[in-house]
């Protein structure tokens, strides 16, 4: 009996050592504690269940290992004859049941807390698109798309990867700290899932339905997440960046956004023609953010699902046809309608860029229609024509 106890003790101390090493690297590889009351509750729950499970594991594996060491035939152990006992069966039915009840109580409490999204200070509608997020500040009339900012060169290994590789966007969602923010999550095409671990929020974005989640961020900072539901070829390339600002900074940001929106509206009214250099420069940016996942930076696409734009009949042909496809998409394919996502200037720029890149402007090869400039006014006209 003594030796058993000593063996158990030695074994336990090994386990404790392991646990120590474990907790040392847990800071990097465990669930983040996060910056909201809910994320902290979830973390506590996660660790509680984890330690309960570890305790059960030590017990079960302990007995198992003891038997495997001591009840070997090579040690001359003769098999016992027992093969049933109602008493022990009842014990190991009832005790786990009680442990489960003990687990379920805190889990229920946290779940109730998560569901209570009443009295929000701020409502933000989040819409998942293939493969970007759109944020609508319902109380402020601010609305924008948020695209992956990592360049194709980094993804293709032609440029060194930045610190936030695949976790950076062109325009983050900005929110105030210490306010109850209600997220209304939906999708435009397929199911996505909006997940920011540090906020303790993961909500599937489902087309045709709106689901709610909330967060109250306690610390200003930048929090990164990713789409968590397979949504097609760009699933790995639609990150989420949340920037939490203290109230005054947030107010400043809101005012700025309204100013930007005003300026954009004015610029559109002016409708002044842009030069080729301007269009090409803007077009390359739009192309990189919007088109490269499928059509590739080289314009070669990934046929047959995603056709090449280089030498394409449409891109080297009639402008009207190309504009119509960019505005309204192609039904039954992954080509979406970009009309509602991009401004007239963006579309004019990206169409111009496509028509003048990869040798598409070679009129000797593709005929007279190839190349050329597209102005925002033409896009506006095309929009109007199709809406009539």
């Amino acid at each position: 009996m003594h030796t058993i106890i000593r063996k158990c003790c030695r074994w336990m101390s090994w386990m404790l050592l392991l646990c120590g090493v474990g907790s040392a690297f847990a800071s990097k590889y465990n669930m983040p504690v996060g910056v909201t009351p809910i994320s902290r509750e979830i973390y506590t729950l996660h660790m509680t269940i984890f330690w309960i499970v570890v305790a059960i594991g030590i017990l079960v594996f302990g007995v198992l290992i003891y038997a495997l060491i001591n009840h070997r035939k090579s040690q001359g152990h003769v098999a016992a004859k027992f093969h049933s006992s109602l008493k022990v069966e009842l014990i190991w039915t009832i005790i786990p049941f009680l442990i489960l009840i003990a687990m379920a109580i805190p889990a229920t409490r946290v779940l109730m807390l998560m569901e209570d999204d009443s009295d929000a200070d701020l409502n933000i509608k989040i819409t998942g698109y293939q493969w970007k997020w759109k944020y609508d500040y319902l109380d402020e009339n601010i609305s924008f798309f948020s695209n992956l900012a990592t360049t194709q060169d980094q993804i293709q290994g032609k440029a060194p990867k930045g610190e936030n590789y695949l976790l950076e966007v062109d325009k983050p969602i900005v929110v105030p700290t210490h306010k109850k923010i209600r997220f209304l999550v939906t999708a435009n095409d397929v199911i996505h899932s909006w997940w920011v671990p540090e906020l303790g929020v993961k909500r599937d974005a489902i087309p045709g339905f709106i689901h709610e989640a909330w967060a109250k961020i306690e610390k200003p900072g930048t929090y990164r997440g990713q789409c968590a539901e397979l949504c097609g070829v760009g699933h790995g390339f639609m990150p989420i960046v949340v920037v939490a600002l203290d109230e005054p900074d947030y107010k400043k940001w809101v005012a700025e956004q309204k100013g930007v929106a005003l300026k954009q509206a004015n610029a559109l009214e002016e409708n002044k023609p842009l030069t080729k250099a301007e269009l090409m420069e803007a077009g390359q940016k739009v192309y990189g953010a919007t088109c490269t996942v499928c059509h590739q930076a080289t314009g070669m696409g990934m046929p047959p699902a995603f056709p090449a734009l280089k030498g394409s009949k449409i891109v080297t042909g009639d402008v009207a046809k190309q504009l119509s496809i960019v505005l309204h998409g192609v039904k039954g394919t992954a080509m979406q309608a970009f009309g509602e996502q991009l401004t007239d200037k963006d579309i004019a720029a990206v169409v111009t860029y496509q028509r003048n890149s990869w040798g598409n402007d070679d009129q000797a090869k593709f005929g007279k229609a190839a190349g050329g400039l597209v102005q925002p006014s033409e896009v506006a006209a095309a929009r109007k024509a199709s809406s009539n």
Binding site: A80, T108, P304
Partner: protein, 553 residues
């Protein structure tokens, strides 16, 4: 049925094999037209092995792409087809057929029957499969990509946005479902009608019991899957809107239907594995299975609960809190009967007289690692925590821990355990042990780091990842390659055993083996038991549960 006289195999001499005509045509005809349970079992095991290597190769492609961040080997779209096909083939083409194959070989022998109850149906249910998998694999040659929406093929990604090849996948699933339903009917008919005189239901071997329950699970869920994919088909082509909100449908309806099939399906994959483990542990512990009655009840309880937990796959999809609570509780409840099984297995080993032949090694690995998978499953049941775990590598780690050391390891253990009986020759024990150690260690190198990746925030099904996930992805990839190639040792060992390279196996093969199959010669006669043996059991005496003493006179 009145008890029949105990028989000797007086007809063994003129009944040793299939009637095979000479030449290649004779070979083809024998295997295509066979109605013999052993031949069909062999066919099932063969198709499972082929699919295992194929889907395993796909996993290695996935792991190669994930060795480093950045686009390296395969394009994101092809990556998605790899994850989809790896999952579909492993579930429908490996784990399901391997256990049907084991059922075909073992159930008639364990019951003391000459064959399955419905031999022609048996032939048909197998031969549907090669066609189903040919159709499924043909999608790689269809323009516009093979299925690329994950093995769960959620709508609308698979309906409105699915590539043309989706229709072929739907058709393949229809055929596989038909095959499973026919197979289940056959297994139920065999178990209920063909038991040796004197063998009551509560005296059947555990492997037979778990298969009986599995067959009923399959009968209930396969029509649901068939209905779901049919609804997909009509949504895609005939103007319905079951899963399209724009037409008044609901994409979440798809998830409810899929997981109403999908969750019991998980138990279809694991219950026969429980049966195998319940056969192997007593043999090599030389001690009767502890708590047989409770083992049967626990299996039935797991099967029942498996029907009422499906929403736990959908907590983040937005279910009402009442539903979330109910499904959390029912999911946690599954831990009780599963715990009973684990505890009973430990009690079976405890105070036994243990030896460590290859099947036993794999069974012990099952005990340890399936329990680990169960622990992470319990963590996943906690809804608030599930919001953080859902769709991350934590889930990938969880289901690979229950499926690989769970279902796959028990199938491997079963092959090592019964192959001397099937072929009449022992496998190479040294190679078997080498296979065990390589695969067990590399399995943990592959899947254990995935827990941490998931907790640190890596979503599943992404072809490229942020830099902080690099180190553990590299470890997992190295492990995956060792794991994959270790199975070539297994394949070589099987081939050598089938070719008769090992030493001759005895009737009983293992010192502690009990049951009707061990009373037959190795290899057993073509029509196992032409005259039913008599089943005798006296629960009070350890020696008497062994039927062979009565049989081998």
């Amino acid at each position: 049925m009145t008890p029949t006289r105990v028989s000797k195999h007086h007809d063994d001499d003129h009944d040793h094999g299939a009637h095979q005509e000479p030449g290649f045509l004779g070979f083809v005809k024998r295997w295509v037209f066979t109605t013999n349970h052993k031949d069909i079992g062999t066919l099932y095991l063969t198709i499972a092995m082929v699919n295992f290597l194929l889907a395993g190769a796909m996993a290695l492609l996935i792991r190669s792409e994930l060795f480093l961040p950045g686009h390296r080997l395969i394009a994101p779209d092809f990556f998605n087809t790899m994850t989809t096909m790896h999952g579909l083939i492993m579930v429908f083409g490996v784990v399901m057929p391997v256990f049907v194959g084991l059922a075909n070989w073992q159930i008639p022998m364990m019951l003391g029957a000459p064959d399955m109850a419905l031999p022609r149906l048996n032939n048909w249910s197998f031969w549907l499969l090669p066609f189903a998998f040919t159709i499924l694999l043909s999608t790689f040659f269809i323009s516009g990509s093979a299925p690329n929406y994950g093995w769960t093929f959620y709508a609308p990604l698979s309906t409105k946005y699915g590539p043309p090849s989706t229709d072929f996948m739907i058709f393949a699933i229809h055929i596989m479902g038909m095959s499973s339903i026919l197979g289940s009917i056959n297994i139920i008919a065999t178990i209920l009608n063909m038991r040796a005189p004197g063998m009551k239901l509560m005296q059947m071997p555990m492997f037979v019991w778990t298969w009986l329950i599995t067959a009923f699970l399959l009968l209930a869920i396969m029509p649901v899957l068939a209905g779901t994919v049919t609804m997909m088909l009509t949504d895609r082509h005939f103007g319905t809107s079951f899963f399209d909100a724009a037409g008044g449908g609901d994409p979440i309806l798809f998830q409810h239907l899929f997981w109403f099939f999908g969750h019991p399906e998980v138990y279809v994959l694991i219950l026969p594995a429980f049966g195998v483990i319940s056969e192997i542990l007593p043999t090599f512990s030389r001690k009767k299975l502890f708590g047989y009655h409770f083992m049967v009840y626990a299996t039935a309880a797991i099967a029942f609960l498996s029907y009422i937990v499906w929403v736990h796959h959908m907590f983040t999809a937005g279910v009402p809190i009442q539903a979330a609570l109910i499904f959390m509780y029912s999911t946690m409840l599954i831990a009780v009967p599963t715990g009973i099984k684990i505890f009973n297995w430990v009690a079976t080993i405890f105070k036994g007289s243990i030896t460590f032949e290859t099947p036993m090694l794999f069974a012990i690995a099952f005990l340890f690692m399936f329990t680990l998978g169960g622990f992470s499953g319990l963590m996943l049941a906690i809804v608030p925590a599930d919001y953080q775990y859902q769709d991350t590598y934590f889930v990938v780690a969880h289901f690979h821990y229950v499926l690989v050391p769970g279902a796959i390891f028990s199938a491997i253990a079963a092959v090592y355990y019964w192959i001397p009986k099937w072929t009449g020759h022992m496998y190479n024990e040294t190679l078997g042990k080498l296979h065990f150690w390589l695969s067990t260690i590399s399995l943990n190198i592959t899947f254990f780091p995935m827990h941490f990746l998931g907790l640190a925030g890596m979503p599943r099904r992404i072809p490229d990842y942020a830099l902080q996930f690099t180190d553990f992805n590299q470890i997992a990839t190295v492990g995956a390659f060792i794991f994959g190639f270790s199975h070539l040792i297994f394949l070589y060992n099987i081939i050598q055993t089938v070719r008769g390279k090992g030493k001759k196996a005895t009737k009983r093969v293992w010192e502690g083996a009990h049951g009707f199959e061990w009373t037959l010669p190795s290899p057993p006669p073509y029509h196992s038991f032409l005259t039913p043996p008599v089943f005798v059991e006296e629960a009070s005496s350890h020696e008497a549960w062994d039927v062979s003493d009565h049989h081998e006179k």
